[in-house]
């Protein structure tokens, strides 16, 4: 594909600021590699912290929602509201309210990434076959035991389905936040490069983001295979990305 791209750019004489050739992207990115690396690390920190926040908040939230229809009815509309608001619109407001530091960026990343994780985890917690619940009850298991010994393990493949979506969305969230207010990061790099029509460098940043997304996704998949080998082959229900 890269070869076709390279050939097409040369064959049709496409101008560099419209579509740079892969070779041009490579040269431009390598030329300022230390800077690019700094931006990459800045984005990675935001992505990882935002992803971590999603995990830490989504799982207990999912347990609450799965535990009671009343809590579910109270919380779900709120969660949907957070999903309906465009994060691009929310980011500047958060920035003003919380100041120009890492926190608003992490919050935006979290807001983009956490919802599919909650939905998938709730689906997993509620997907436990009724016979398994009955087995637990026949063994005189209480509600806490039922949750910890039966529902939670059963939900693991679903949770990982949600984690994979959340991992990819964390990258999206971090870049959205950086577009709005940042002095570092790949999102910032893309914006400043394009302002000067330095398309090759912007393309380079986009490719690094893609690689970051893939690596994060694979890291989640690898964790699943190592920690829960039975889960990988199991049926999962990841919801479509928001």
């Amino acid at each position: 594909m890269l070869l076709l791209w390279e050939a097409a750019v040369h064959a049709f004489g496409i101008r560099e600021f419209i579509l740079p050739a892969p070779s041009a992207v490579w040269t431009a990115t390598i030329a300022v590699w230390p800077t690019v690396l700094n931006h990459t690390l800045a984005t990675l920190v935001t992505v990882l912290l935002g992803f971590a926040a999603s995990v830490v908040i989504s799982l207990p939230l999912a347990m609450l929602i799965a535990a009671s229809p009343a809590i579910s009815a109270a919380l779900y509309p709120l969660l949907v509201v957070t999903q309906s608001i465009p994060k691009v619109a929310l980011a500047p407001i958060l920035l003003v309210a919380l100041g120009a530091n890492e926190l608003p960026r992490i919050i935006v990343t979290f807001l983009v990434a956490f919802f599919p994780l909650v939905v998938a985890s709730v689906a997993g917690l509620l997907a436990t076959p009724p016979e398994l619940i009955e087995l637990g009850r026949a063994c005189r298991a209480g509600r806490v035991q039922e949750l910890v010994r039966i529902r939670l393990p059963y939900a693991v493949p679903f949770v990982f389905g949600g984690l994979k979506v959340a991992a990819a969305l964390s990258v999206v969230g971090a870049v959205v936040a950086e577009f709005v207010g940042a002095d570092a990061g790949l999102g910032y790099l893309i914006q400043t490069s394009m302002a000067f029509f330095r398309s090759p460098l912007a393309f380079g940043a986009v490719l690094i983001l893609a690689v970051m997304g893939i690596l994060l996704f694979q890291a989640v998949a690898l964790t699943e295979r190592l920690l829960f080998p039975w889960s990988s082959g199991a049926q999962t229900g990841a919801p479509p990305a928001a």
Partner: protein, 256 residues
């Protein structure tokens, strides 16, 4: 001894309408007795089992075990479902010991007993396999071992072989009889299969649907140990015909 006296169960459906699943069922099952329950779908067989298991409370009448009213699941009752209902994340051994661990009753000998039990059920060497690595018949064997490990006084089986192919089913029936012969707990065995009921049980309870009632109780006079050779015997045929007449006679009467 299990005793049901004028037991009835009415469920409230999702739409608020009441559904009478069982009406005025009186039955007693002696210690060590094997009772099969047959009947068309919707005749309350499973409900009856769940009443004895203490999973659902009776609406009318009483359910007693050893003279005590059954109000909640008991430790001396074990259940086998139609689906093996194994934990997909736990290996065979941990699945078999799961109920005891859940009830906090697992001792130092639990694992050894589980291994011995698995061996008698032909599952030696599969202790560390995951359920997904086993065939349907083997999974159900694990589920039966899981129930037996509790040393139950009462074993409740809800169409345990319903999801298995015919050959596996016959093999498992004989195996169940052997395991029961060694332990002699009371068994209530719900099934759709008339030959299976006759082959296994001391008595076959025939139920009629809507609401579920006992239509007949057939004593099976076949000597034990039972085998499939007895299928040709007059007693087997007599029992099977009588059960069939009860079930389909009711249907004909309902259709007329």
């Amino acid at each position: 001894m299990i005793g049901l006296a004028h037991t009835g169960k009415t469920f409230r459906g999702r739409d608020g309408a009441e559904v009478e699943a069982l009406r005025d069922v009186s039955l007693s099952v002696a210690d060590g007795e094997f009772v099969a329950i047959v009947g068309a779908s919707g005749c309350g067989k499973s409900t009856l089992l769940r009443l004895v298991a203490g999973l659902v409370p009776a609406s009318t009448g009483t359910v007693t075990l050893q003279g005590q009213a059954v109000t909640a699941p008991r430790e001396d009752t074990a259940m086998v479902f139609q689906a093996p209902t194994l934990l997909p994340w736990a290996d065979v051994l941990r699945n078999v010991t799961f109920p005891l661990r859940l009830m906090g009753k697992a001792g130092s000998d639990t694992e050894d007993r589980a291994r011995a039990l698995l061996a008698t059920a032909g599952l030696k060497g599969f202790e560390t396999k995951l359920p997904s690595e086993l065939s349907g018949g083997m999974q159900q064997r694990v589920a039966i071992c899981r129930a037996l490990l509790q040393n139950p006084r009462v074993l409740l089986m809800d169409e345990p072989f319903g999801a298995l192919d015919a050959l596996t089913r016959e093999e498992m029936s004989l195996e169940l009889l052997r395991l029961w012969g060694e332990r002699r707990m009371a068994v209530i065995f719900v099934t759709h299969s008339i030959p299976e009921a006759v082959l296994l049980a001391d008595r076959v309870v025939v139920m009629s649907p809507r609401p579920g009632r006992i239509a007949d109780i057939v004593e099976v006079g076949l000597p034990r140990p039972r085998s499939f050779d007895q299928e040709g015997s007059d007693e087997f045929q007599r029992c099977a015909r009588r059960i069939r007449d009860r079930i389909f006679g009711e249907r004909r009467a309902a259709a007329a």
